[in-house]
Symmetry: C2
Subunit: 290 residues, 2 copies
DNA sequence: TCAAAAGTGTTGGACCTACACCCATGT
DNA sequence: ACATGGGTGTAGGTCCAACACTTTTGA
């Protein structure tokens, strides 16, 4: 990009202080997958999805739980800000991340107008992180409603999102509306009630939705598992995220290409040992897109 | 979201002027599909993809072409700002839109730090719009490079994006890098050279990519066509976007559910008349997701 | 008559679903 | 011995690529 002489002259005179600007922040929604307790020597532990929340120390929403985030300054890109924020606030340095969505509603922050760029983060870290707690994620559908017209339809879904750990249980209700009339599709997620700060529950919902959608055609799930895993662990991970049961034989065939067998096996369990696998980093090497 | 008393007190004292903030803008990338010229009475016109650009009237980048955009103020959401901008600047009121990506590099705007939320817009409008011109979009791959390691691979692709109309031809070269090592996937789009303002060519590339990806599993393509169309038109639309030829019989079967036959037929062509179809607004009514 | 597009039918193969079945282990 | 998970095989169906073929029109 060249800058013309006319541009140079303009830039010397330019001052951006005359415009009233919103603040810009980033928010990071961090997920992991952990084993549920299991005391049967035969049974394998089931997995559960967890999200990381901090208790807010300062207003607004003091004492309420929120995902982590920070305002951006002029010296860092969005991505850099996000990485620094995660490192400084919770001590996490290696993780999967992708930009999720930018939220810009007018009243999302009571202080002032804040536009927030949200990021989806996944980690396989099993240790506790600083400055916050992991919450189990449970999604429950309360109702579904489909109305048909001859020029389209509308769907409305009410879901309850329960975030809980041993001490705390946070319930939120979201209403998802899809209207579809002659190509005018509108999708709207409305917070009916929440026990989280800001619109953070909406961000968490978006994030879960993104993970689900990407499960089918990417290797995103592997970011939630340790480097070595059994195929049953992997399958369980998919099942938890999709909320369905999968058939074992078929699952093994489907993920065959994404995975490389190791010459290691589990032991110490009351059943046949299982082979350990790792992610195949070359699985989509020959994909010609982007 | 309740606001506590402590919060209320805090809010009265709060001033956001002490932080240095970036500016926030939205940018709208508008596409349409039009017929190429065709003088053979037998042949059907081929479609081509076009993007809408304006010539910048003010610095920076005066006189250069850019996609439309505007800074956001405190009284409108991102979405509202985008819709107003499109209406006021080019006179378009009905269109498909979705949020594309938020760009936050430090030097993307020479005036000051600007975070820009980009939107992908599609229209079937065949009329000219105000304050700008339509440019044919041609994407050409210059080179592909795959390196394999035993812990992953990296792919590098160089593409040339040519935006042209009868008077102007704008060429840009982009380098797309994908690195994949042990779950650390990084994707990076770098502008090698461009004749457009800002990083707008990058946004256009992201937008084209999004359309391509959504073609397969959504009805996004219908937003580029008039309400009534023939299946060959629809197929041609897919072909232009994907850059490949499709088999007629198979295509008809695949999109069968997305489409409703009308009792109308084309005529005036040196071949069998073709039935007109419209979009089936209920095609994914029973999809249980989101 | 003929070139071009509209539209249907068929065949072989790839893949998916569902289920049955055997293997290996620690207690 | 046995409950539990690990792992393989297979029959039936669905879907898709490829290609052949018929129909209809305006000049």
């Amino acid at each position: 990009m060249e800058i013309s002489n006319q541009d140079k002259k303009f830039l010397e005179l330019y001052s951006d202080s005359e415009y009233q600007k919103p603040s810009v922040s980033i928010d990071a929604i961090i997920f992991r997958m952990v084993d549920k307790d299991c005391n049967n020597y035969r049974k394998l532990p089931q997995k559960k999805l967890q999200v990381f929340l901090t208790k807010r120390k300062y207003p607004p929403f003091v004492g309420q739980y929120a995902i982590i985030g920070t305002f951006i300054d002029l010296n860092h890109t969005l991505n850099e800000t996000m990485k620094l924020c995660v490192k400084n606030k919770v001590g996490l340095e290696k993780f999967y991340n992708e930009q999720l969505f930018t939220f810009g509603e007018k009243q999302r922050d009571p202080r002032t107008r804040v536009v927030s760029v949200s990021y989806l983060l996944l980690t396989s870290a099993q240790e506790e992180l600083e400055n916050g707690e992991w919450f189990d994620v449970d999604l429950e559908r309360l109702s579904t409603n489909i109305s048909s017209f001859n020029d389209g339809y509308s769907r409305e879904k009410t879901v309850k999102l329960i975030l809980s750990n041993s001490e705390t249980k946070l319930e939120s209700i979201l209403k998802i509306k899809i209207e579809n009339k002659e190509l005018e599709t509108t999708k709207d997620v409305e917070i009916v009630s929440t026990e989280l700060a800001f619109d953070h529950i909406k961000m968490i919902y978006y994030a879960i939705d993104r993970i689900k959608n990407k499960l089918e055609y990417t290797d995103i799930a592997f970011n939630l598992l340790p480097k070595k895993f059994t195929l049953t662990e992997l399958k369980n991970c998919y099942e938890v995220l999709l909320g369905t049961k999968l058939l074992d034989a078929n699952f093994r065939r489907k993920i065959n290409g994404l995975v490389l067998p190791l010459n290691e096996f589990t032991s110490d369990k009351g059943h046949r040992p299982s082979q350990l696998f790792k992610h195949n980093p070359n699985w989509d090497k020959d994909n010609d897109e982007l």
